[in-house]
Subunit: 281 residues, 4 copies
């Protein structure tokens, strides 16, 4: 019997940090998950916890570290991950994942949630290095034209008609691996988000795969601090409703937005001179 | 045995309508639910469906009606509800509820979802009248100061310390009853949303009830087309983390955002000259 | 401006109670929500909380009351509701709603969750009386035959073919009003659940309305402690897949289980000699 | 720019199969996801779809294959995966994942859902082989004693008190890799489920890691067709409520069931003579 890959930690510590400069407040709303790997065979085999950092302590550490200015989530995750690796001999690898929720200001000290879109990071640290992955999740986009799908394989189970015009919609989940850990995270994130949105909007699409590739390519071409980008794009099908039984045509005007099943397109693009991923993923 | 209140219908027909003016497209993203009441005792008691409009037909009707310009959701719901009452002798009352999801333009024909916030309406029609209720849901707001809570009853189960400064956060669900059915819905909704946000932000709060009342009052004072407003405000507790075990103070800077349990404050405000609600609710 | 209906309380206090008789443990897993109404105009209008029982205290009270043997959830809710009304002059009406989650024993002190099905109660108390509503939620049932649907109205939007054989599936939510508050709750619940399941299974169905009615009728006929029953039954559509493009027939064998839209059938049955509902609902 | 790992397919085709032996019906309720990898660079780079099997066709294939007796989900997934690899030159690897939902019989042709627990499989096929992974998800278990946690590292952020008695609860997600593809799947699954439950219940626990290890060990020791097992166990914290402010003690009787944050323990056990995993994961 071999104990293989294992890790443990506190997931989803939801911390809100308020920073006050006089009457004007700033807000950080973060969901922080910690996962530690290392010399933990004994707790598995005998229940000896002498090398275990309790997940409750990990939670406390997140809160205590939030007392200092948080800054960008990538930096906050780096500080946390380095702490766990540096402080505890039994911890070989610490991985800290953060979701950041956006808020829009409506007043000096009042805010409204900016939607379901989330900024993401996952930072992995060992004594040998730090790997930073950025990301964005639940970015829901739709284009009402500029999307075709045809020329595919037909077999005896094929019933889908070819189309020269359809709605294309997805909820993007993207993670990208940075080449370093000393980067202008805020600017990088903002640019990547903009590039993803613009390419989705502008690139004429013959398949969701082509759109995914173009979006990744745009990021890698413009942002040299990104070595690799991984994307998952569910195809949120919008089917043109057949209105002919009611004596109406439907020139891509009325759509039924389906829940399930959905296509799911996943792909990775890597810069050809990208450094090795190491423990990033 | 008496058959009491009953209704049936098709819930959650998710229709997306694209309107094209040359290259520039407009998008309506609606989740439509229909509920009919009337002379339906026979299907309950004998399974005789001769007076039943199938829910599948209701769904088709939603799609067919979406072929014409949708306009504001209140008008679309009125047209649908009147159709069911007018067309079918067995239908005494039709109620159409719509959720509208917001999208922000990123291109002539591309959009990004504007968040979880939803615009709502419920329209009820009979031969005798039309009642329109507007609403907003999942409007998540937070103020980082300007909220106190003290002076409450203490009994043997009370452990909550009084506070002169806390975070106040909620996810507002509000429905308001209109006095008529011929109103500038778009402007009314925009103004009500603005009033709700502004009052939440600006009104110094001694209790979530006081905030709720002030928000409703602001709407009723400014918008004379609104007869009544009903609000539900979960208290999304943000607890200041006790950092003293770590030798730190916490001057309302670091908060733990709790999921459950949560306070739930519900209240109704009515204009003193409001017309009778009739079948609005 | 008139302050109309209002209430407030602590929602979703999730309490687990373990009772130990030697090595053999019993488990109660409850989600408790409290809502109080009464003399609370001042907190709304001026923020004067001197008549307010904090929701935090309500939560503490739930936990403290759980120290005593809980018994059936209806009794636990009665004790809690009477406490709030009896203890606090400002509380005119207390309503306590409980969801109970089932667990199956796998060992003296180990259990596995018995599914998503929930036992429900809502108890309302004032100085003048106690009203008890029982219920069941998320009871998902399916019959693979014994269901027809035909003879309905056809109009220009009708495309649904009639059927003499279909799957009928629903997720039942039922609430029933008891005639009193001194009832063998456990036995009553078990019998009602059994009657609902049996009737769903055995009653040949010409419409979901007919099934709903038969289920309610079976309960009212057999359980005289029930005055009224309210049911909501979403029609979880299972559409027979058209396999003819693949040269196959489909004799109600292969179904696509759809998510949305869904039919929603709601109905109430009342015993003709039922006492007035009072504040039960 | 290098196109790295990529796959696409139809996710969550929800198919229900009814099999009729006279009046007695059998039910299979499956959620099927397909993912294909292969020679798909062209659709990414140019939108040339000539090697693409549309996800719509994949969905149709699932339905068409469900016309034949489904048998165990592992076999159904094998048939589907082999079809995609065998039929299409561009498909190098097909992965089919299935969730099976349980139903309990209440009648010859009526059923009630058996809970949120799911049986899982993921089958991967190429021309070179077939890899089968079994699994179970959302298996929620709780033990009310027989769990301790102490002897862990204390640092300046540690506040957790040691305990000799606590509730331990989790929602198990387990996947296990089979050594072959010709196995009595039904018996293997039933035995593994039983072993997981029994070990959770009986094994005295000094840490959730120890419990996870013991559960995996029990499976590997008893079921030689299993080469490896991977488990994820969120620690669903049940905190004993401090009743001392109310003058009560709490001898592990009254617990608050917390939602977030939660511990998350993940681990893998492998038989020392296990064959290589190949493309199983």
């Amino acid at each position: 019997m071999i104990l293989g890959d294992n890790q443990y930690g506190k997931a989803e510590t939801h911390v809100v940090r308020v920073t006050k400069s006089g009457a004007r407040h700033e807000l950080k709303d973060l969901n922080v998950s910690v996962a530690l790997a290392g010399d933990f065979a004994e707790t598995h085999m005998t229940g000896d916890n002498s090398k275990v950092v309790p997940t409750d302590t990990q939670k406390n550490t997140v809160f205590a570290f939030a007392k200092e200015p948080i800054g960008e989530i990538e930096d906050f995750a780096i500080r946390l991950a380095r702490h766990f690796v540096g402080e505890f001999a039994s911890v070989y690898r610490a991985r800290v994942s953060i979701e950041e929720f956006g808020w829009e200001r409506i007043h000096d000290h009042a805010f409204v949630r900016a939607g379901s879109e989330k900024r993401l990071t996952t930072v992995t640290c060992t004594d040998d290095g730090t790997w930073v992955v950025g990301g964005i999740g639940d970015l829901v986009v739709l284009k009402s034209t500029g999307s075709e799908f045809h020329g595919y394989i037909k077999d005896k189970y094929t019933t889908l008609p070819e189309t020269r015009d359809r709605i294309m919609a997805t909820s993007l989940l993207a993670h990208w691996r940075y080449t370093g850990s000393d980067i202008d995270w805020r600017k990088s994130f903002a640019d990547i988000r903009r590039l993803l949105l613009e390419t989705f909007a502008v690139k004429h699409s013959l398949s969701l795969q082509q759109t995914l590739y173009a979006m990744g390519e745009a990021v890698l071409q413009a942002r040299h601090e990104v070595a690799e980008i991984r994307m998952a794009m569910p195809n949120r099908h919008h089917f043109a409703v057949d209105l002919s039984p009611f004596g109406m045509d439907n020139d891509n005007e009325v759509f039924y937005a389906a829940d399930r099943p959905y296509g799911l397109i996943e792909g990775t693009l890597t810069r050809d001179d990208a450094p090795e991923p190491g423990l990033a993923w």
